[in-house]
Symmetry: C2
Subunit: 478 residues, 2 copies
């Protein structure tokens, strides 16, 4: 049967998680490879998810006073070099423009890998007095980092993101903004994407090039691997000193500004796939689903069915639900499989008997649970079900996360956990980068973060046995 075959084209998650992921991306028509090495094409299904992420996250930004801007795509090499750590982090993977038309450029230009240097250049020009502060700017754009290996949404030479860049009068204000934006990310992911996040600070080894401190939200994928989902950096006044960003304070004294930056990217779509997806394809949280409800008529040629289905569509749309209707000449089973593969949270089936009885059947994507409702009540019931699905998806993701955190007090326990217990491992650390390196070399696990919720689960470093300083969350990661 055609509809069976359609679903069979998705490799099972247990059989080969990486292939399952690739299959879902392809079959749900989210993304495609392009003929440009390392660059991807966002197809309508994938881009529409990003549009919803942008809309909801941007509204949260603006509530905190963020203003959007757009800065140039290009960074002159000399500008990129102004902050030492930063250039070391990004120059090796930059794409370089050397010709403008037929003329060789005097100075080559990097296609922006991130825009700290451009924002610093701007702030040096427009910040003069304490009255000009704070500046809380953000831009939605694409960035380029020349990658050797690529995976849809997770790693590609060009990707879409937002980057916020702020300048503040005091160190305290900068730190508060850094944490505030991390919390915006964590709340957004939990409430809109139904993905629980662990918040913490990166170790020096894992922090951003040029940052004083980097905070992160880490999510757990279905295969037990971590995905760094968003970061927020406090730069202190390091960039301000390199770029000469100074202001006159209330006492007429010259001060350096304190800066932050923070970003999330289209990686979040990878997280949605790997946290919620199943062997039938994508499962989208209703808040972010481009189509929340798909109407599938059964025997649509029978009297009254197409009319009833179209009537339902209008009623759902009037109730504010993002509604589709599949009136194609495919068989219903095929339409069901297609809607499931695309992750549409709710399906409304209506056939001749339903239409005659004034009913339709609502089917949840996540649990396949069916509910018969009257056509009259359908919009309200569908809206309620969508909210239930959203909450249930979050609950299941939270349970999964909680059930995939283990603890290790000795190195033996640690190595065993990496091998046999997919997920995060909580273990104490002495603070020495050598231990992070040894753990990575021995196990491929890395320090994901020092969680905000600290605890002393043992007195010694899990790796070297010296006195422990911090509880660290470890894991294999994307």
């Amino acid at each position: 049967m055609a509809e069976k075959k359609l679903v069979e084209e998705i490799t099972s998650m247990k059989e080969d998680f990486a292939q399952w992921y690739t299959d879902v991306v392809k079959k749900a028509e989210l993304m495609d490879y392009s003929s440009i090495k390392g660059c991807m094409i966002f197809k309508p299904g994938g881009y529409a998810i990003w549009e919803n992420i942008q809309r909801l996250l941007d509204a949260r930004f603006k509530e905190t006073g963020v203003e959007n801007v757009y800065l140039p795509l290009f960074i002159p090499e000399s500008l990129l070099q102004k902050e030492k750590d930063h250039v070391e982090g990004f120059a090796p993977e930059a794409a370089w423009v050397t010709y403008g038309g037929n003329e060789k450029l005097v100075e080559r230009l990097a296609v922006r890998p991130t825009s700290e240097t451009l924002f610093c250049d701007l702030y040096a020009n427009i910040v003069h007095s304490y009255r000009d502060l704070p500046k809380v700017y953000n831009q939605w754009c694409s960035v380029v980092r020349w990658e050797k290996t690529t995976r849809p949404f997770l790693r590609s030479s060009e990707f879409l993101w937002q980057e916020g860049h702020t300048a503040h009068a005091t160190a305290e204000e900068a730190e508060a903004r850094t944490i505030q934006m991390l919390n915006v990310y964590a709340d957004f992911c939990e409430q809109e994407l139904a993905i629980p996040m662990i918040k913490g600070q990166k170790t020096d080894k894992e922090k951003f090039s040029g940052a004083k401190s980097t905070y992160t939200v880490e999510a757990l994928m279905h295969d037990g691997k971590a995905l760094q989902s968003g970061t927020s950096h406090n730069f202190g006044d390091g960039f301000a000193q390199a770029f000469g960003i100074q202001y006159t304070d209330q006492n007429n004294e010259l001060q350096y500004v304190h800066q932050t930056s923070w970003g999330v990217s289209t990686r979040l779509i990878g997280a949605i796939i790997m946290v919620h997806g199943d062997d039938s394809g994508l499962v989208l949280p209703p808040h972010i689903a481009p189509t929340q409800l798909m109407i599938v008529p059964i025997r649509q040629e029978a009297e009254g069915v197409a009319e009833a289905a179209n009537g339902l569509k209008e009623a759902f749309a009037a109730a504010g639900l993002r509604t589709g209707i599949d009136l194609s000449d495919k068989r219903p089973g095929w339409k069901f499989a297609e809607a499931e593969m695309r992750g549409i949270p709710l399906r409304a089936e209506i056939g001749p008997k339903d239409a005659a009885a004034g009913n339709c059947v609502l089917v949840r994507r996540d649990t396949r649970e069916k509910t018969v409702v009257s056509i009259e009540e359908a919009p309200q019931k569908a809206a309620e079900l969508l909210e239930t699905i959203q909450q249930d998806m979050l609950s299941r993701a939270k349970d999964f996360l909680e059930n995939h955190i283990s603890e290790a007090k000795t190195y033996e326990e640690f190595v065993d956990a990496v091998e046999s217990k997919p997920g995060f491992i909580r273990a104490m650390w002495c603070g020495d980068v050598a231990c992070e390196e040894k753990i990575k070399e021995d196990t491929t696990a890395t320090s994901r973060c020092m969680p905000f919720e600290q605890e002393r689960i043992s007195e010694t470093c899990v790796c070297c046995g010296r006195p422990a300083k911090k509880l660290v969350l470890w894991g294999k990661a994307y």
Copy 2:
């Protein structure tokens, strides 16, 4: 007085229109020059206008079935070269990436100047059957064309735009989509930007590189110069043949698709400035204004004023108006001038006497007309006034356009009109590019379009005297 000086910093329009334009862009804080040659910075005030344009135009696109996608930033040189006319039009002004990290690329990559070739490459891969058609894709992105001279919003090496690219089964469907999108642009500009457009077809000399026909919407700026504000191209099957985009039709025969593309850019912001602005600065149409109404308290330290002002803000916002409040320590006159410079359509003033009487004063940006209203009625009255302003701005722009179209039947009349009558000139044309070139050389005027509303105002070409074929709208242009 400080507020006087603030306004005086804007050069008068009559004195020096180009300087007036630059002053408005700078003083209204729309855009700034960057340290990258030819690239601009969109400041919050300018970018917020673009966000509103995107939001309103994108909704109109989606009503016609457009789906958004995102294609790579880079185009391999060999791909750009596949369509002969197209590469000749764009290669000379492309920015070229030659290094990825430290490695020299085997093939250099153009930073997209426009994405026809990328969409063709995609369609060649995903279009197989008539069932796959039409494809009606669009992307919002930035493009790069290496420009020697730059002007904010009007000409820069990088600019923001949308580019729609469609593929259809038949020539008729492609032509219908080309015209449909031109109408979307014209309606959008008229209803949301309050700018009337003249619709027409470009002559062969002025059409897009690789197009079969190009349609345009042309607007008239306050200095009498034309601004090409949006274009829609019918490619026929030229690109399809170059890229091998074929589908199997209902009779199982192989056919080439027929394609279109269409775009508007941040130039539209330039049009808003030059159609509506005055010597006090920007004047924004309410539909597109990031802030529609600014509350300015007078003697805000007096009892009850700040409270009343804040109460007003809540009431306006609750009525769905995009509302700001200026509680800074500047003088009211300065605040008025600042709100005027930024083009905010309506100002609400409230002082101690107003607050005591339960009133506020609404002041229109466009006419300066003042209306005293009760605080209770203020939100509804403000909403009505905003709609009145929008319609009045459109009426004035229409009157201006109608009063700046002249006719020429002889070359003498034509040359005289170009010199003494700012605006469009209607004159007949024989269809020979040589006449377009002579006119341009003699007068700097160019053929803007062959208007859809054709008329025979004389029997002979205004330039050469041979039999006339088309009525053409001529003018000096940006």
